[in-house]
């Protein structure tokens, strides 16, 4: 609980209308896109960098936790106020300040919604590629803080590849202005990259300069059907070995295909073990078409029974509808689901899918898998019913087995969702004690009192790997999630 003095100070900083502390108001900021829930003591909605800095100074002096929050679309528990404190909601800082055509970049506030930004940029004839599935809700500040990815990552990289400049308020209220409109910069340590993917544990992002690229004039999309899963894995290798780097190489396994078919009745082949959704873009229609034909040939040679290239924008839209519907389609199959975000070296994708399926069978879960096969970033989903006795405990064991499998295959815990609370206890397994020690030393150097987003990204050591790492978290009544 915050004392009256602190609440008064908070109101003095951001204005009376922008501090929330009533119980109903606090509930709205108590959960994200996972199954967790814990209320903050107050919510502050600042409008400026200076207000953010002032809130941080106040909180730091009083050792009050501060949880930076965009749209709360985290799939890892990244914005849950585990130990109360002040939620710093950045949604009012939502101005696109400039789209600079001459320097092909944009200056934005952190609360700008990703899709709104993309639309504005494309209207200006430019392109901002990162496309997390939550883009209609998620904010650019959150995207940077989590280094959000998306299907286009194969060709275009992830959010941090587009950040040229960052304004960051540190825990003690100091404000760093890093980089700017320059494309290259080796003058200091690459601090922009350090704040990217730090999940709000090192500073609060209050301004972003994003690099933009030319908007490709043409796109082509194809879907390849694979009777055998291993062949789809070989196809990924063959496509990338063919000299073509597509925009996307998205995979859906048989369970995901069937879930979508149950939902949309598109005529997807239920007996196929996998499909790949492939997209290419470029300025030359001839070149894009040539690339898609090369990809189609590679898929056929590796065992695709059918490759269909969209011949109209409508057909292209239809193919994407299947991919976009997958999370909702899977969600219909059980009361609850949880989506993982493991990454393996690309060549290990088929083996990882086999292991996930085996883990699902062993622990009694349906485990549809989809994801960014070209990047080796898979989203195995566990379908479950948390009301069943023992279900959460079994889920914990299964999730732990998935993490272990990814690490054994040379992979890692998360490609784009972040660690948050859900994977924190596996960080030492993933990174080793020395790397974790360096992370802790950096955290200590930047946030010595540990006020910024406590309980995230670092293991607490209070739970064993296989018991409590999920069930000990504070739970919401209904479980949802989308990736």
């Amino acid at each position: 609980m915050l004392n009256d003095r602190t609440l008064r100070d908070l109101r003095a900083i951001v204005g009376d209308d922008y501090v929330r502390s009533g119980p109903a108001q606090l509930i709205a900021y108590s959960y994200d896109a996972t199954f967790q829930q814990a209320p903050p003591d107050a919510v502050a909605l600042p409008r400026t960098t200076e207000q953010v800095a002032a809130v941080l100074r106040l909180a730091n002096n009083a050792s009050i936790p501060v949880i930076p929050r965009g749209a709360g679309t985290s799939l890892a528990g990244g914005t849950i106020p585990l130990t109360g404190g002040i939620v710093l909601s950045l949604t009012r800082m939502n101005t696109i300040k400039e789209i600079d055509l001459g320097n092909t970049c944009a200056v934005v506030e952190p609360g700008v919604v990703t899709a709104a930004f993309q639309a504005a940029v494309e209207k200006a004839g430019l392109f901002y590629p990162p496309d997390p599935a939550s883009l209609n809700q998620s904010t650019l500040g959150g995207n940077v803080a989590c280094n959000a990815g998306g299907p286009r990552g194969l060709k275009y990289g992830s959010t941090r590849d587009y950040v040229l400049g960052l304004t960051v308020a540190l825990a003690d209220g100091r404000v760093l202005r890093l980089g700017g409109k320059t494309i290259k910069n080796v003058s200091g340590y690459q601090l922009i990259q350090l704040f990217a993917a730090s999940e709000g544990t090192l500073g609060v992002i209050t301004g972003i300069t994003l690099r933009l690229v030319p908007l490709p004039r043409h796109r082509s999309t194809a879907v390849a059907i694979f009777p055998k899963l291993d062949d789809a894995g070989d196809a990924v290798t063959a496509v990338l070995g063919s000299g073509v780097l597509p925009v996307t190489l998205e995979l859906m396994d048989q369970l995901a295909i069937n879930a979508v078919e149950d939902y949309l009745h598109m005529g997807l082949p239920r007996d196929a073990e996998a499909l790949l959704l492939i997209e290419q873009d470029g300025n030359s229609q001839v070149a894009v078409q040539q690339d898609i034909e090369t990809v189609a040939a590679a898929c056929k040679e590796t065992g695709a029974s059918n490759v269909r290239v969209a011949t109209s924008p409508e057909e292209r839209e239809l193919l994407w509808r299947a991919r976009r519907a997958v999370s909702a389609a899977i969600g219909r199959r059980a009361p609850n689901k949880i989506g993982e975000d493991v990454v393996v070296p690309r060549s290990q994708v088929p083996e990882m899918i086999r292991r996930v399926r085996r883990i699902g069978v062993e622990h009694g879960f349906e485990t549809p898998i989809f994801g960014h096969a070209g990047d080796g970033n898979l989203h195995p989903n566990f379908l479950f019913d948390r009301r069943k006795p023992g279900e959460m405990e079994r889920l914990e064991k299964a999730a732990a087995a998935v993490f272990r499998a990814a690490l054994e295959l040379g992979g890692t815990l998360s490609g784009e969702h972040g660690i948050g609370t859900l994977k924190r206890e596996f960080m030492e397994d993933a990174l080793g004690p020395d790397t974790l020690g360096v992370m802790r030393a950096i955290k200590q150097a930047l946030d010595p009192k540990g006020i910024l987003n406590p309980g995230k990204k670092f293991p607490t050591g209070t739970t064993g790997e296989h018991s409590g790492f999920l069930t000990a978290l504070p739970m919401l009544d209904s479980l949802t999630g989308e990736e």
Copy 2:
């Protein structure tokens, strides 16, 4: 001076043959591609990560400076042993351990020469784009530590965009194994990016996993001649606004053109204020040709008097010869030269060139300029004769004025050469005290005794901005440099 015990320990770690301590041997490791010289107390040439870690433990316990060194091609004084200590030469760790076609990546040791790596990768049908001008000598470890760039950076980014994994030995001998063959990874802080561009001040890179991309099948190169410098600046904006992102957009100003023409007698137009060298690549000859035609049209519309597209590989080679010869051609015009590496927002390139020229005239220097106009990264060169009384003092004033101009235009000190010793005193002006404070806190957290590459990247505060920041450095007899 190292005591006998330390030398004996050093020999025990890396082997008798791989410790150098004779005066003639030390001289070989006392300079780089700048004008500075300071001998180390010993040189150790380790073969393994474990040896590197053991040398660091030894040095850290005894508080001996350690200067990691690749090929010593630094243009910023990055490897000068300012205060003696042990040069850790990584040139024996020069094995390409694996080129992994399935995961389109390679695992290398830090001492592999960049050009040798590129040749091996291209033989395997893949492509490693970063192309610093020193690539025939420079090593991949040095490239990562400085985040080396090159002409292809516009389309392909710089070295750090290709680093998937890094093995790093810390000052105290702990070894971090960061990342791996996964393309995406948000499990920890982006420490790989922190070590990139850290110039050996945070750790010693002993292993690198590099992302590779498909080798483009076609290339096309054009040169555009501009009677007016401003028009060349407008052309850069017009090209990037045309929807095409070329591989390179290299600029040479009139002085650079004339220096090359004096040297090579190629028939370059001496009265042109600027030329742009433009290259595009891709898998479709049609698309590449189409892009180059779009670029040519944009150049003509903005005032190019002539755009010549190479019609054969030989002609392409000829066009590149002019660009590659520019540093040597400039070097012939005066006993000494120093090349700066400032970056400005791309739209400020013409203004920056005008300011550099004015600074040159004011301080009495010829200042040919070339560089990566598409990235806003310019190499203004100062031609001088250090034997002339007062020349170095005037050079200092002129260089300081160039730094100030870049910062005033929203730019920065270095795009690819690094800070080293040459620009360190301007770091506070460039980054501000708070950002510098965060850098110092991170340095302190990772290297509390300050043994790693002391005197680099951070301002010493011992010299004023305008006096002594160059002249107080320990000097080599003859000045050279190439970028």
